[in-house]
Amino acid sequence: MLAVEGVTAGYGPLAVLHEVSLTVGEGEIVSLVGANGAGKTTLIRTIVGLVRARAGRIAFRGQRIDGLTPEAIVTRGVSVVPEGARVFPDMTVLDNLRMGTAIAEARAREAETMQEVFALFPRLSERRPQLARTLSGGERQMLAIGRALMARPRLLLLDEPSLGIQPSLVKGIIDTVRAINERGLTVFLIEQNVHLALPISHRAYVLEQGRIVLEDAGAALLANPHVRVAYLGV
């Protein structure tokens, strides 16, 4: 569904990603793990067109998307849950969810999708009229995921869903990711915490200083001592 081939990208003269290649197959949960500063968020930003790939190509469902605008990429079926559960703080929960339906196709099915989101996160339904800024960290993450789902994506990108969330709630978020995947949505998950990401991943990649250094089944990587080396150098 997603193929990243030899992508080099960065900010200004600074290269953060060096010839990164990976694939995400339909129906999979694939994760990318790595320490901070490895380039994980930059890869997500490059996939959705916020950062321009300097070399390489990115294909979604067989068609190149590198060079397209973020709007065009979202319209093709890629949604992002941004790092730190960024939602619109001064808008209500309901309006935040509506913001997810900027594309015409999704807008036509807004009511139906919203019921699905509320079924997944009953808490959001209870808090419909509340301003997003009054939500807890865990609820904001639910809202960010819900908003991404409102676009009815084919591929969901999650950028460190555990970041800034109370540890007791993180497991719930991860269980939700698995549940969403079991309903047929393909997931590309970026995480620092290998114990959260790898057990639910069909396959995973390890990113170290902008390069993919390991690739394996999620469970196999969890047992691989080289993952620690990629994070800590020894």
Binding site: A15, L163, Q192, N193, L232, V234
Partner: protein, 240 residues
């Protein structure tokens, strides 16, 4: 001899404690690395030491004097200066003038003496041939070197390096590691934050690890990287 010491440094932003009772001490001539996952409090600790941020509570002592909350200008004159991840040079000035400003301010030298000082540090970081180039024509790696030359030209005895190697390739990283060793040989003390663990293993005498604003480990780089608390801070807990 202890050059710098933080005692129980806490910094709160609203309800969030970015730093919570952090004690760090370092001796003159040491190279100390401060590491930790995203949001660990590394930058906040740096900003507190450099006088950019005042701590909510706790003490920061430099050569025995409490400097907490003094402000960067005064902290710089006392002998502490910091480089930036994204260096902000004076873009319209020549490279040498950027370093000259630092020598004039930090050491209060005459223009002639400060010019010699600026030239010497520019040569030290390997940019003598760029002295007359406008600062905004430099690459990121070169800007970082000018930033380091500026910090050294202030006369700072304690140099803080904030992710000085981010985005550099392996050869450039080795080059920076080499320069940092020479900075120490010239009698300066260094504190650095860095994500590139190989560089830390190669240059730091000691590592302090922060996680959620607290110090969770401290010691020789090789030992610290194998500390179970550090491994779970980076890779996560098995049953989170």
């Amino acid at each position: 001899m202890t050059l710098l010491e933080t005692r129980g440094v806490t910094k709160r932003f609203g309800a969030l404690a970015a730093l919570n009772g952090v004690d760090v001490a370092l001796d003159e001539g040491e190279i100390l690395a401060i590491i930790g996952p995203n949001g660990a409090g590394k930058s906040t600790l740096f900003n507190v030491i450099a006088g950019i941020t005042a701590p909510t509570s706790g003490a920061v002592r430099y050569r025995g004097q409490d400097i907490a909350g003094l402000g960067t200008d005064r902290v710089c004159r006392l002998g502490i200066a910091k480089t930036f991840q994204i260096p902000l040079l004076f873009p319209g000035m020549r490279v040498i003038e950027n370093v000259l400003v630092a020598a004039l301010y930090g050491q209060g030298m005459s223009v002639t003496a400060a010019t010699d000082e600026a030239e010497a540090w520019l040569a030290f970081v390997g940019l003598r041939d760029k002295a007359d180039a406008p600062a905004d024509t430099l690459t990121v790696a070169e800007r970082r070197r000018v930033d380091l030359a500026r910090v050294l030209a202030t006369g700072a005895r304690l140099v803080l390096l904030d992710e000085n190697m981010a985005g550099l390739n392996a050869r450039e990283v080795d080059g920076v590691v080499n320069v940092l060793r020479q900075v120490r040989e010239r009698g300066r003390t260094l504190i650095l934050t860095e994500h590139i663990m190989g560089a830390i293993l190669g240059v730091a005498d000691r590592v302090v690890v922060l996680n959620y604003g607290e110090k969770i480990a401290e010691g020789r780089p090789d030992d610290v990287m194998r500390d179970p608390a550090v491994i779970s801070a980076y890779l996560g807990e098995a049953h989170a």
